[in-house]
Symmetry: C2
Subunit: 393 residues, 2 copies
């Protein structure tokens, strides 16, 4: 039986065998394409803000890349989710089913609508929502009333379900889509982490009524700060554009706003960065996949830890490479985090489960045993493109 | 008596006498400083997003420039106002007094808090809130109950008042501060338009509990999209930073968020632009003031129109130059707008009064006769820095 220190040392060494000994952070962007050219063009033309061609172009290219009918660029992934929920009909006092195992933005966006996050269970292959367990749970606590799903315990309408593709690994969408249909739930995909990830050959974020992306600095591609709303519905796409740009009616000079709107527009300068980054996305993905293979080979010799692999029928972007500790070494988690970070290898655990955070402690939840067990086992390790063999690419 | 067409032709000609005949838009940014250098530094170091030195630097330099104790950079002026209102204690169901003569963002931010905009009257010298009329109005409709001001008609608490410095002209803050004190109202300044404007020698946005700025593309300086929260209170400043950056507690790897937070952080790349723009702000202000003098001289020959001048005791940034039609030619407004725009001189009326927009039609309001009369008379004309004599600067 290995001590926590021995486990930690082995993990640090294994990572360093793959990526070398220079200090590395968890994920950093690379600007090796047209970033500078496009930014310069913004400055030269004076178009950095709400006017300029890069926003349209970024939206067009995102739609082409994901094969989504429509893509609307916004200031970040959080605002994308906020608007997707509003346009899904989420109303103050509604409940929205979301994973407890997610970044806090998923829950925050629900509260911005005046709605209540209702935390549901994850499973351990893809780390996303467990459709079967949620089905049983909903059967036991909810009933349909005039076409709406009502939580018998709280009396509130459960309006939507928001699966999230954790660390880039697609959730099992088939089962979730069936669940949503059977229980009259709107499905919105939080695809913040999964640009470049496919379920059954189709890009994540294009299955639900909406899908949302993030281009934060730590994501596979970045716009500084940014996000996008994907949808296949023309009128929802138009509405999303309208409401994210202050809901102003088009007119040469008149200022009429016909509903409560938001200033969630992505500035042209951030979109310019996005256009350049998107051109290199295939190269980033290839590099991240290679990194995964190297890690996989290296960790295969350690029987107490495994590295998360894309689920079957899926292609993952391998945004964040993820170790999963076996039960026997769970207790070493914090010492692994200490040891790796002390040696310049930036790692982190997954997020604190959202139902345990102060602002959500009174939110409804189902049994979250799997999420709770995952919280103790998952560790993200350095995952940037180009960590290995940049010259091979 | 001149016809509408004659009035329009005279106005178009007078503007063109000042700025020439090339087509011009209302306001455009100029990038003639270190913009390139700083953006390139972001790309070269890889810091474009939440990590990087430009956000701290921009906040520091904004605070120095405005002599505000604290400045917190955020994604835009709307989000700045949203957070300022939350931290002022605005709660769902409260009312907030705001000018009907403002951009829609002022009202939207109130609704994001679940609060109700309550529209109050403007006056015609500085176009901002009329403290004396509002005082009389509040006397007649409100009463104090356990230290809070309650609207007798609606039963709701009136929590705050948000004066706005219209087109850069400072509102009469003395009277408003007295009013706020007497009626137990929190005062938040919407200084989105007034970076570089001073009331009684002190920068606008530094009088209230909070002041908020915008760096949208049409403002005096731009960050693409951006805004800032000003405050003189250390703990409010810390709270503003915390809540605009997802309310995450500092920790090397742990993800604990102790309240509902927002992703309102300004990305480093936008802050880089802001740092460069701020360096040239004095030059922009000088140029805009010269433009005002030229317009003033040119329009002095037309007795049916005046150009808005900074109120006494104030220094205005002259963000948007503003014509005010006399009653006799009010009917010519739309033909002036048509004529100028058709001749490549971009102009616009002031915003539609907010109380008349669909989403706010049921909001409480006082008599708004002055705002209603101003709506028919005000026209913004081309106002960019460098419209005249760039070589003189
Ligand atoms: C699962 C998830 N949802 C939402 C977001 C929010 O995206 P952003 O940071 O762009 O607001 C993120 C990323 O930060 C995320 O990981
Ligand atoms: C009076 C006023 N308030 C608020 C805002 C909102 O600022 P932003 O556009 O940066 O969100 C603006 C500018 O657009 C404004 O003119």
């Amino acid at each position: 039986m290995l001590s926590d220190l021995e486990v930690s040392n082995l993990i640090t060494k294994t990572i360093q065998d793959v990526i070398g000994k220079s200090p590395v952070i968890l994920h950093e962007p690379k600007f090796v394409g047209n970033e500078w050219v496009y930014l310069k063009e913004c400055l030269d033309t004076g178009f950095v803000s709400s006017v300029g061609k890069f926003v349209d172009r970024f939206e067009f290219e995102l739609a082409s890349y994901t094969k989504s009918k429509y893509a609307i660029a916004v200031v970040n992934g959080t605002s994308a989710l906020h608007i997707a929920l509003i346009l899904s009909g989420v109303k103050p006092g509604d409940e929205v089913l979301i994973p407890s195992l997610s970044f806090v933005a998923t829950a925050n966006a629900v509260t911005y609508c005046g709605a209540i996050p209702h935390f549901v269970e994850s499973e351990s292959v893809h780390l996303g929502l467990d459709a079967l367990k949620i089905r049983d749970y909903l059967k036991s606590i909810s009933e349909k009333k005039s076409g709406q799903l009502v939580n018998r315990n709280t009396g509130r309408v459960i309006r939507a379900i928001v699966p999230m593709h954790t660390f880039g690994h697609p959730v099992q969408l088939d089962e979730l889509l069936k669940l949503a249909k059977d229980f009259s739930l709107i499905l919105v995909e939080d695809a913040a982490e999964s640009l470049g990830s496919y379920y059954d050959g189709k890009h994540t974020g294009t299955f639900g009524l909406f899908g949302t992306l993030s281009f934060n600095g730590n994501k596979t591609i970045t716009t500084g700060g940014g996000g996008a709303i994907l949808t296949q519905d023309e009128s929802l796409a138009k509405h999303a554009k309208h409401i994210t740009t202050t809901a102003k009616l088009a007119h040469r000079w008149d200022y009429v706003h016909d509903e409560i709107g938001y200033n969630y527009r992505m500035p042209n300068i951030n979109a310019a960065l996005g256009c350049a980054q998107l051109e290199n996305l295939p190269m980033f993905l290839e590099s991240k996949r290679k990194l995964f293979s190297k890690y996989k080979a290296a960790f295969s010799s350690l029987e107490f830890v495994s590295i998360l692999e894309e689920p079957k029928n899926c292609s993952s972007n391998y945004w964040l490479q993820t170790l999963c500790l076996s039960d026997s070494v769970e207790s070493a988690r914090d010492s692994i985090l200490e040891n790796t970070n002390a040696n310049g290898v930036m790692t982190r655990p997954c997020w604190r489960l959202l139902h345990s955070l102060a602002p959500f402690q009174n939110s409804p939840k189902m049994d979250l045993a799997v999420a709770e067990s995952l919280e103790k086992k998952l560790i993200n390790i350095p995952s940037s493109s180009f960590l290995i063999n940049p010259s091979n690419l």
